[in-house]
Symmetry: C2
Subunit: 177 residues, 2 copies
């Protein structure tokens, strides 16, 4: 029994003395969690879920309207590195330089995800797992619904398109539309 007790003691000793290695793992994990939170906060600040409509009179599709969902983050030029971190995290999308010739100090850059598959498998699930804290949370919910409807082809039918149009009206953020 004493032997067993000692082994338990040794086991516990070993477990308690593992942390030297574990700490750096925990540090990484803490950093990862803070980075996830950072993305959510940054998107609450500068992100945008939008759905636009474009008319294509010459389209071969029955309905001439294209529904165009986008996830966009805009930032001043000097913050490109922060936006690049977001792009790296999601592993999709593009960064565009948006040259403006008005009275703004900086040329804003834009991070944009338009690919439906990327929206469905990368962007939307991320924000469903780690919810936004601002009013954009509601936008994300409607946006996700629309992209999923589109994935079923609903936007190619008149009733579906109309439904999407009404849903878009409920979205808050019209800034970039």
């Amino acid at each position: 029994m004493l032997l067993g007790y000692n082994i338990v003691k040794v086991t516990l000793y070993l477990i308690y003395n593992m942390p030297s290695k574990k700490v750096s793992g925990a540090d990484n994990q803490q950093e990862r969690l803070r980075f996830i939170g950072w993305i959510v906060g940054f998107v609450d600040g500068e992100g945008c879920f939008t759905v636009s409509f474009f008319k294509h009179p010459k389209s071969r599709l029955r309905l001439k309207w294209q529904v165009f969902p986008e996830f966009v983050i805009t930032q001043g030029m000097k913050t490109r590195s922060a936006v690049e971190k977001v792009k790296k995290h999601f592993g999709c999308g593009e960064i565009y330089l948006n040259r403006r010739h008005d009275n703004h100090h900086e040329h804003p850059i834009k991070y944009v995800v338009r690919n439906r598959e990327d929206l469905l498998t990368k962007v939307i699930p991320f924000f469903e797992k780690y919810p936004l804290l601002s009013a954009k949370k509601k936008d994300l919910r409607i946006f996700a619904k629309i992209v999923r409807m589109m994935n079923r082809g609903d936007h190619l039918k008149k009733s579906g398109l109309e439904k999407i149009r009404l849903m878009v009206r409920e979205m808050n953020n019209r800034k970039f539309r």
Copy 2:
């Protein structure tokens, strides 16, 4: 030896089955870390460290200039709850409704920390511990230096005031000044 082995197994079993309680603690900790990251990301998006100068010709001080550092977050009306979370976290500052009559959809609200003690003990140490990822990181560094100089009274001397003025010129974010 077999007994010892079993005890080790039982010990390990017990250790591995403790998490039921631990998990909720870990969950809280994870949430806390994500929330810290969220604040940093939100401030990278919508936050601002500014230092303004006001002339008070009738001031009894030798120099008639007041140096006015502020930490500000602006957000649309609908996101008040998110800004309130930030205020609660820092345990200081005020939320103001900033009524605008231009073509903006929403009346932006402002979270502002002006109290020097709060800046020195709450806001600055937070962002020094959890660095911003955008260009605002540089602003915070200069801002912190200025507030600490003010705490030593440097801004009341001509040379210190001039030094502060030059430092402010190096800050990126002039949006709210």
